[in-house]
Point group: C2
């Protein structure tokens, strides 16, 4: 690390195997190094249109309004919630980890009437439980987290769209942590809005939030339309409902900027758009299904290796995300000591935990550019060495053999 | 331009001489191409601290809370307004162009009681006029634009701090367009909050908003403190005033994330932070005063050249920004035709205009990496050629000679 204030950026080499951000795909970094173009340059608006088309494929949707919010994944969440939820609207949030609490927190800032249902951390909800709560509470919107990195759990969403449609509920999911590494079918699952980020399975930096909005969600947002005074003309008319209490996150304005009218709003963050487009391009070059299978494979190999080391996996293994694994910190081991030793002596970062899980589990990611065999093998071998040094005994070779076995099984090799 | 959806990013070469974004400094692009590090990596938190220190120098402030908002410059404006203005607070906005209207628009979204004073476009306010309005309206905050790119005017701010202090008014300015190319003295001028962006004189991409907050502004924000449920502990206490109606733009939370507690909020946009730090480093390497003088020089040379071409400069020349020049489109010339020809045949972009000035002026920027002699000379020579082709007569050689004369005068050369 260079402490000189005037030195050039020169970050140390790290293998980022935490819950994200992870190392960016070098192709994404190169895309960001491209020179800028003007925001209304035909080449720029063409890149914006292409970005919409590429993300429609990743979101598995026909939604016209598939675009970027210029901010981190949290900005994408807030843009959707502020635009969709009117003050006083009742919303239901099934909370199964920290990011469910975040949805509540943001909904509260929208002045929503927030109701929650909870399951213990490490579990997910059955559709019945969610439908029962919807019947009881009659919310306007169901706000879900698909993959909550705090617990590594993946909430099944496939059956919730029908439930929401039956009860006329807007259906949103925060797919920040899961997107690109686990199945997500926006249209088939009846989602009205999804938000994501680049810094997890997409292999890019934090700072741009891809979102998609269904026609139903678009209509809800259009009813709150406002056109900025500085650019409005006689043809512009405001919507019949209460305005959105943010300009930056007013998705009606963001649509008008990404749409054919190209009404000036923010100045699109060009380099981040280049990054977002390249993330999508790289993922589609591999093929979305193949990419998800790759995340499943490396997640399973990591789990096999960790169990081979005698470690216990946290939570309901049937419902964990492909791309993040919670590992119970063994009795007598100081979790932070292990993390620091891994970082300082191997330049490998694994994740700590929040809230009730703090000090109880590590979180290891295998996602995006780092959903690779070499990353898994290096992490397992370094972790075993560090644990051994701190007094945790393992059977020599067992961890890596187990991971190899998982890889070989997938390659159809018998050993 | 490449229309292939699956092709790599390959933007056409452009010389961006509009009101911003402009071409990024290649060093900033290289900084963004650096590999990522974890958000709590000691190297990352050190870069965050360095970024604070570097921007304190650029803002000419001792303010502790000098940091980045992860979004475009508009996000920086909204974060300050949403955090500072409580619903019902009275605010005063002196409007002298489009971005004054934007401040009104955002303040309205904060549910403020918004009052404006106006001068004709192309002019600025005298301190008296602003003090009179403050005395009459007794606002809680004065929201100003330092440089309004829509009119190219630069509002003098030096005397407003004393006025605000006398009347106990919070003093904010939006320095997006002016920052780094025109003097700004946060502490000496008594500013309580300033926001900026990278895509103008700083020579970076849009997508990160440097801001600074005075201790008085910090105190106002702290009174509205909220700690997120997912991460709050027994020691955390909320403020006594109404919460901030945004989580992403809650600057209390952003301070807790940039401060020693490092309370998790958004995941810092690492690549944009690298860009922001490099923008500041490059500017301080040159020296802030020298950089401002450079902006003045190239702005004046451009003006000399345009006048030498027989074109008229828009607005009050005594109060224009160094870095943007409004040019009155001559009688009988179609402004957009000229812009398209410049872009298509010379790859040079100059700006159009908004609202009442649409079709009446072009805006030409000389800022950041493009505040250079070669950029000015190429733009003048291309513009003259294009104007000639469209029937506007000029005296051969006069434009470029005038620009050269201005440069030679500054170099102390007599010709």
């Amino acid at each position: 690390m260079n402490n000189d204030l005037y030195a050039q950026i020169n970050p140390p080499h790290r293998l980022l195997m935490g819950p994200g951000p992870i190392n960016a795909d070098p192709r994404v970094l190169r895309a960001m190094a491209c020179q800028l173009i003007g925001q209304y340059d035909p080449a720029m608006t063409e890149y914006m249109n292409q970005t919409m088309a590429l993300y429609r494929q990743l979101f598995r949707t026909e939604n016209r309004w598939t675009m970027l919010v210029d901010g981190t994944s949290r900005a994408g969440i807030e843009a959707i919630l502020l635009s969709a939820i009117r003050p006083g609207d009742r919303v239901l949030v099934p909370v199964f980890g920290r990011f469910g609490h975040l949805l509540c927190e943001i909904a509260r800032r929208c002045r929503a009437d927030v109701h929650t249902i909870e399951v213990p951390w490490g579990e997910v909800f059955t559709p019945d439980k969610i439908e029962y709560a919807i019947q009881r509470l009659r919310p306007r919107a169901l706000l879900t987290v698909q993959g909550d990195t705090s617990t590594t759990m993946l909430q099944p969403l496939a059956e919730l769209g029908d439930i929401c449609r039956r009860h006329d509920v807007l259906f949103y999911t925060d797919a920040t942590a899961s997107f690109g590494g686990n199945a997500l079918e926006t249209d088939a699952w009846g989602l009205d809005a999804v938000s994501a980020g680049l810094q997890k399975c997409l292999g890019g930096p934090s700072g741009s939030a891809p979102i998609t909005l269904s026609p139903k969600m678009e209509a809800a947002i259009r009813r709150r339309r406002c056109v900025e005074q500085g650019i409005r003309t006689a043809e512009h008319r405001d919507g019949e409902e209460e305005m959105i209490y943010s300009n930056y996150f007013d998705l009606g304005m963001v649509m008008d900027y990404w749409g054919p009218e190209r009404l000036n709003h923010h100045t699109e963050a060009t380099s981040m758009l280049f990054a977002a487009r390249e993330c999508a391009r790289v993922m589609l070059e591999e093929g979305l299904d193949k990419g998800i299978a790759r995340h499943a494979l490396h997640g399973e190999a990591l789990v096999a290796g960790l169990e081979g080391m005698g470690l216990r996996i946290y939570g309901d293994k049937q419902h964990k995300m492909n791309n993040v694994t919670g590992v119970v910190i063994p009795e007598g081991i100081q979790g932070e000591q292990i993390r620091h030793c891994l970082l300082n002596d191997f330049a490998i970062e694994i994740g700590t935990s929040f809230g009730p899980l703090q000090g109880k589990i590590w979180r290891i990611g295998t996602m995006g550019y780092n959903a690779r065999k070499d990353c898994v093998m290096q992490t397992l071998s370094a972790l075993e060495a560090v644990l051994n040094r701190h007094g945790f005994r393992t059977v020599q070779g067992a961890a890596l053999q187990a991971a190899w076995d998982r890889y070989d099984a997938s390659a159809g090799v018998t050993r």
